[in-house]
Symmetry: C2
Subunit: 227 residues, 2 copies
DNA sequence: TGTTGTTTTTAGGGTGGTCTAAAAATAACG
DNA sequence: CGTTATTTTTAGACCACCCTAAAAACAACA
């Protein structure tokens, strides 16, 4: 292709890989494995190896055969910028265009790759410099700094504890729509009434007085700030 | 590639070709030539021939070797939808994010390819269903219908004629910034004072009383609605 | 420590998109 | 109408990204 003139330095695909590696590195602390990336990207391990060579060539990751990968400073910055864009666009889609929180991921997945000077900062300003996206995930600022939110999984609360829903661990449409159905949106206040050790489910009361029983799965995937 | 599951039916590249063909077909009425497309896309004629085969295969164009191409109904609809998206995003960038009218083309060129059900219609609603983009170009509606605007090139006016700037034929940064410098934005009122046959330049008076002499080039590229 | 099972890489190939150079078809003109 | 100039297509190659199947490396464990 002779490296097209104004073509961006990193392709959509490369960016998606970087984001996946960043995400995996967050959870594991150790070097990220080829298989983990393949699972995250829903692609083959062979394709991943292929891409890892390219990313290493561009010095976006540290890569040693069979030893897994880590993002370089540059790669990390790129991934952070991408997450910033992704989450800002999600805020736009929900706050300005009126999409539901379970509808925006795929669109943001595309919008995050739009390149152009000033776009992100203008978008940020337009949205009122939000610190969290529609799923409660933090939005890094222009310098890559992350806001920290004091939150725990719902099923770590004890009976009598009160809290506010601040985020979700899962982002699937099924889970988010189920929460909608239960009337549990971001910001919802609740009190934990009882814990059932048998199946790790919990009983809660919402701000409007409804009592709900939530499975272990829901309790793990819902984050709350204890108040 | 085994036709990836959720991959869109048409690639970014194919969409850009369709748009280029649509644009060229508008001006020429005859079948669009390979060379014209190559020039418009800034690519080689060989690459164009290659792509024409693919587009014909997908029945987006009618293509006969050496005979040029025409969009099929389907291709035409796709191109129209793309132009709609492009221009709506331009409105967004200017009206909502505060970009200047000469800065938005490249960004819209990327944003127009974002796919997702409901996005365009929600964007349209959010923007107040605009009928024209920041350059005065008409935005087709969801059914592909175009608004018609009664406008002529500035240099067709006669002394004494008054008008309002409604659009531009050229979209280059240089031209648009020159207009900014002259204080000639969309909606600017003006009166043609005199025509100079020697070099086809014209003298005008703006709403705020300034008198300007505009070259033939500017006179050709500025559209006005006579009032 | 050798064998087995898992992970990762290589080998080989495919598609979409690009290019240059050469061949073929069409258009222009004397 | 034949020759020349132009346009268009083919030939052949390259890169990014993907795949499957086989080989190689590593990890686990008896
Ligand atoms: Mn993405
Ligand atoms: Mn999110
Ligand atoms: Mn485009
Ligand atoms: Mn425009």
């Amino acid at each position: 292709m002779a490296r097209r003139l104004h073509a961006p330095m990193t392709s959509h695909t490369e960016e998606n890989y970087l984001k996946a590696i960043f995400k995996l590195a967050e959870k594991t602390a150790k070097a990220v494995s080829t298989n983990a990336i393949a699972a995250e990207m829903r692609t083959s391990a062979a394709s991943v190896t292929d891409m890892l060579k390219r990313l290493a060539e561009k010095e976006l990751i540290h890569y040693e055969k069979y030893r897994g990968v880590q993002l370089t400073e540059q790669g990390s910055q790129l991934a952070t910028a991408l997450i910033r864009k992704h989450r800002l666009w999600e805020v736009f889609l929900v706050d300005k265009l009126g999409f539901a929180w379970d509808e925006v991921h795929d669109l943001a997945e595309q919008l995050e790759h739009v390149q152009g000077s000033g776009l992100v900062e203008r978008l940020d300003t337009f949205l009122g410099r939000p610190k969290f996206d529609p799923h409660g995930d933090p939005i890094p600022d222009a310098e890559g700094r992350w806001a920290f939110r004091q939150q725990v999984a719902l099923n770590t609360l004890q009976p009598g504890d009160k809290g506010v829903v601040t985020g979700v661990d899962e982002h699937s449409t099924e889970f988010l729509q189920y929460l909608d159905q239960l009337g549990l949106a971001l910001g919802a206040r609740l009190e934990l009434l009882e814990r059932y050790p048998y199946d790790q489910s919990v009983r809660i009361r919402t701000a409007d007085g409804r009592e709900l029983t939530l499975s272990e799965k829901v309790g793990q995937n819902l984050y709350v700030k204890v108040s």
